[in-house]
Amino acid sequence: MLPAILASGLAMGSIYAMMGVVYNVMFSASRVMSFTTGQLGMLGGVLGAAFVGILGLPAIVGLVLTLACCALVGIVTEVVAVRPVLDKLDQHLYVLSTLALALMIQQFVAIEWSTEPQPFPQLIGFGGGGPTDEKFWLPVLACAVTVVGLELLFRHTLVGRAFLAISEDNYAARALGLPERRLRMASYALAGMIGGLAGFASGQLLLAFFANGPYLNFYGFVPVALGGLGNNRGAIISGLLLGLVQQAAHFTFGGVFTSVAVFAVFIVALLAAPQGLFGQPKQRRV
C-alpha cells in the first residue's frame, strides 16, 4: 500500500514541480505569470502521443520533436501574449492575453486532436503496471533531469548567468548590454521545453487529453506559491510535497474531500509563511 502511494505521490509531485518551474522561468524573465503553462504540459502529452503513438517514431525522436514544438509555443507566447503587454504591467493585461492564448491552444487541440483522452504509448516497457512502472518513474526522472539541467545552466554557463541577471534586474542587465528581448524569448523557449518534457514524461499517467491544461495550471501554481515566486528549488520541494500530501489525502479521505484537505494544508502553510516556505521576505527601501 505504502509503495503505491509513494510512487503515485512522487510522480504527481514531480509533474506539479515541473509546472511550477515553468511558471518561474517565464516569470523570472518577464514578471508575467503565464496561463499557457498548463497548456505546455498538455501539449507535451498530445504531441508525444501523436509522434510516438500514431506516427510510430522512436521515443527519443518523438521527445526531441515534442520539445522543439513546445519551445516554439513558448516563443509564440512571448511574442503574441507577453511582449505587447509588458509596458502595461500595471493593468495586469497579461492575465487576459495569456489566458486568451491558452484557451486558443486548448480549443485548437480539441478540434484537431480529440475531446476524449487518447492513449500515450509505453516508452520503455518497464514495471508491469505496479509501483515500479515507468509511468510513475518517468516523471520523477524528468524532474531530476530538469533540476540538474537548470543548475548546470544557471551556475556554469554564461547564458545561464545572463538569465539570472535579467531576472534580478532587467534594467541593469540592459544597461550592461545584455540582449534582454532575446534572453526573454530564450527563457520562454526553455519554459516551453520544460513543460513539454513534463507532459511527455507524464503522458502515460495523464493520457493525451486536451483538458489537462487547466488541471496542470491549477496544481502547478501551488508549488510556486508555497515555494516562493521565482524560487525553483522551493517549487521542486513544494511540488513533491504537494503530490505526496494529495495522494495520502486520496487514500485517507477520498473524493471531493481530497481537494479540501490539500488546500487546507496549503492555506495553513501560507498563513505561517506568506512569502512562501522557501521565499525571502521582500526588502523595501526606506
Partner: protein, 395 residues
Amino acid sequence: MRITRRGFTLGAASLAASTTLARPALAQSEPIRVGWLAALTGPSSAPAIGFDRGVHYATDAINAAGGVNGRQIELVVRDTQGDPTKAVNAAQEMISRARVHAIWGPTNSGESLATTPIMARAGVPNVHPCFVDALIDTKRYPNAFRMAPSNTQIDNAVGDYGVKILGKKKFAVIGDTTGYGTTTVKSSSAAFEARDSEVVYAGTIEQTQPDVTSDMLRMKNAGAEAIAIWTVSPGLISRILNTRANLDWDVPVIGHPAMGSGEVGRLVDKPENWSNAYILGFRNTSYGDDGKLPDHVQAFVDKIKSEIDLDDTTLWWILDGVDSINIIADAVRETGTTDPKDIIGYWNAQADYPGLFASYTFSPDQHNGLSPEDLVMSEANSQKYGAYKLAPGYE
C-alpha cells in the same frame, strides 16, 4: 360594379365559410411535423448522433412507402448542443412557430428537465429517451412518455445482477464528481442495500484525477467484492480498470454503459484489463450464446448494416430513434388525426407496442415504456455492430 354593404357582408361570410370548410381537407394533406430536439454537436452529442440515424432512417422509410395515410413526415430538427437554454428556445420555436404535431427528445436529462414543463403547458405529445425519474409524472406532464429506462430501473437492474446473479454481498459504489455521478452513487448504493447487501465504500472521483490507486486501495481494504461505477468518462473508467489489474484484484466491475465504449478499449493497458466488466444493456440489443440478436432485431440489423454505420455508435440509440418515429406515425395512422389529445390517447392505450428496442407499455397512469425484463447486463468488451454480448448468468 357597385359594392353594397349587403354584398360585402355576404361575400365575407362566404369566404369565412369556405376557409372553415376547407381546413379539415388541408389538415388531412399537410405533412406531419415531428420536432426533433437533438444535441447533434457539443460534448454530449454521441447519443443524439446515434438516435439521429434511426430517426432519419424511419422517416425516409415511411415517406418512401407513401407516408402516413398519404401524409409525409416532415422532421423539424434543431441542434440544442446539449445546452438547456438552447433546448428551451428550440422547443418554444417548434411549438409556436413550426407548430409541430409531436416532439422526440431532448436526449439528455439536463435539457429535458428544462423543456418538459414547457411542452406540458402546450400539451404537445412528447416522447424522449431520458433517464431521470422526475421527467415522468402523469399528473404534471400527461403528454410526456419515456422510451428508455428510468434511473430507478437501471439501479435495480445493476443491483439485481450484482447481488442475485454474481452473488456478491459487499460493494464499492463510485461515480465522478458531476451531478450525475454524485446522485447516482446515492441511488445505486440504496439499490444494493435494499437487496440485503452492504456498500462498504461509496465515493466520488474527479474525472481528470490521473491516478486512482489510493481510491482503489481504500475499496480493496474495505473488503469490496465488486465495484459499481457511474461515470461517462472513458479516462476515469480506463484508469479504474487498469488499476484493478495493477493491484491484481480481479473483482467484477459493473455499471454505466460508457464502460463498453471503444474509447475505453483504446485506453486500457492490456485487452484483458477490460474483461470481467459488465455494463447495463438491453434484452433486444444483446447477443445470445449463438451470437445472434432477437430475430426481429437481427433482421433489421442485417438490412441496415450496409446503409447505416453501426460501429461508431450504440445500437439501442438507433433502434430507439426508429421506434420514436414509428410510434408517432402509428398514432396518426390509427387515430386518423394529428390532434394532440388523440395521439396521447393512442399512446396511453398501448400494451406491448412492438418496437425494435423494446416492447413499450403505457397507460394513463404509467408513462415509463420499458419493463424491468428489458434491462439486462452485457459484457463490456464485446461490442459488435453497436450491440453487446449478454453477460453470464442470464437465460
